[in-house]
Symmetry: C2
DNA sequence: ACCTGAACACCGTTCAAGT
DNA sequence: ACCTGAACACCGTTCAAGT
């Protein structure tokens, strides 16, 4: 009797997340997933209609694990900062799923919880519904963009010299000279991909909210 | 003699863009691309190493067409606003490529030109290299995030009632009540996906830059 | 009810060959 | 130099069947 614990959505998504962590989204294959689960490819279709439903499920699992609303800071600014920081951390830890954020995702339970809690905190702080919606939109846009930029540019920005090398490679020998402003700014670009810099950005948005 | 004008990177990318515009990134297939070009699949490999190189090329073509640096506003704030607005418009017009922004993209010529020009304008306005880099990072993050959110939520946000319906569908009959803050904010969320709202966001970032 | 096996209509890509 | 044709090792998904 081979140990064949029953399949479930949860178990499938966890296995999928592991595969994606190793080889990225394009490494995720129904057949490979089934093998990892010790099961036939078709067993997976008992729990998901198709592959797209699985990849969307990944986002939900990641947000759920991040628990961006599950904490208790008294100060509402601190609460918001913590909430978006958790979102940021979760996405940075699973860079492979970032492209999914640009997809026509429908809101899942966990994403909605985060949204509802954050809006509730903002409105509790005295913002009206419109300003709360606006603030949330600014911060979630910034979070997603920061994480996308970080993932897109990670290798280049880690080391300013690599960026210059890349310019030369892309543009020919005098790339560094032709793009003089980029060259001048390059030494400073790495730090903006950091977590602390992200948190500063959220703080800045909070500081410039319309007075409650 | 069938009209077989010679293949080129440019011609291949244009055809790929058309396919992606119709059926999205997953509709893009070397075989389909070749058929559209009246050519055998293998002919494409004379110009691109593999499919990934083609999809990355799409971003470059789109940014190139948007020409985000090709304008002459005297006021530097107006110049920056126009530049990021063009970026925004281009991405909104080609939502299918937005997921690529979260990919480990290397900088192409056109993306670098945009970056160099914007940094040059910011530094010309009196910002030092560090503050210019910071400002650019904020604005490009916001642009990408805004566009991703817009693309992810488009259908839901267009119509507040649809969002409530969706809540009910996702969460059971009393979804709208359980997520009361989302329900309260829903009527205001649609407008934040608009171009004007995006431009307001850029203006707000510009207004809060460290004084030059 | 849950899983399997075989099959279908596709993929990206390699290789040897044509002109 | 540039393109073709056939083949390889895969895909996601359907269908009919097993237990």
């Amino acid at each position: 009797m081979p140990p064949r614990p029953k399949l479930s959505r949860e178990k499938i998504l966890r296995a999928a997340l592991a595969i994606v962590g190793e080889d990225g989204l394009e490494g995720l294959t129904i057949r490979r997933l089934a093998t990892a689960l010790g099961v036939t490819p078709m067993a997976v279709y008992r729990h998901f209609e198709n592959k797209a439903e699985i990849t969307l499920g990944l986002l939900e699992v990641i947000i759920g694990d991040a628990a961006p609303s599950d904490h208790q800071e008294q100060d509402w600014r601190a609460w918001i900062l913590e909430s978006f920081s958790r979102m940021y951390d979760a996405l940075v830890e699973h860079p492979a799923v970032i492209p999914l954020l640009g997809t026509s995702v429908s809101f899942g339970r966990h994403a909605l919880e985060q949204m509802d809690s954050a809006l509730g905190v903002l409105m509790g702080a005295g913002l009206d519904a419109e300003n709360a919606a606006h603030a949330f939109h600014s911060m979630i846009s910034y979070t997603i963009g920061a994480v996308a930029i970080r993932s897109a540019a990670q290798r280049q920005l880690e080391d300013p010299e690599r960026l210059i090398e890349l310019l030369d490679a892309t543009l020919g020998e005098d790339g560094g000279r032709a793009f003089s402003s980029v060259a001048a700014a390059a030494p400073h670009m790495g730090s903006f991909a950091s977590r602390e810099s992200f948190r500063d950005g959220i703080r800045r948005i909070l500081d410039h909210l319309p007075a409650p």
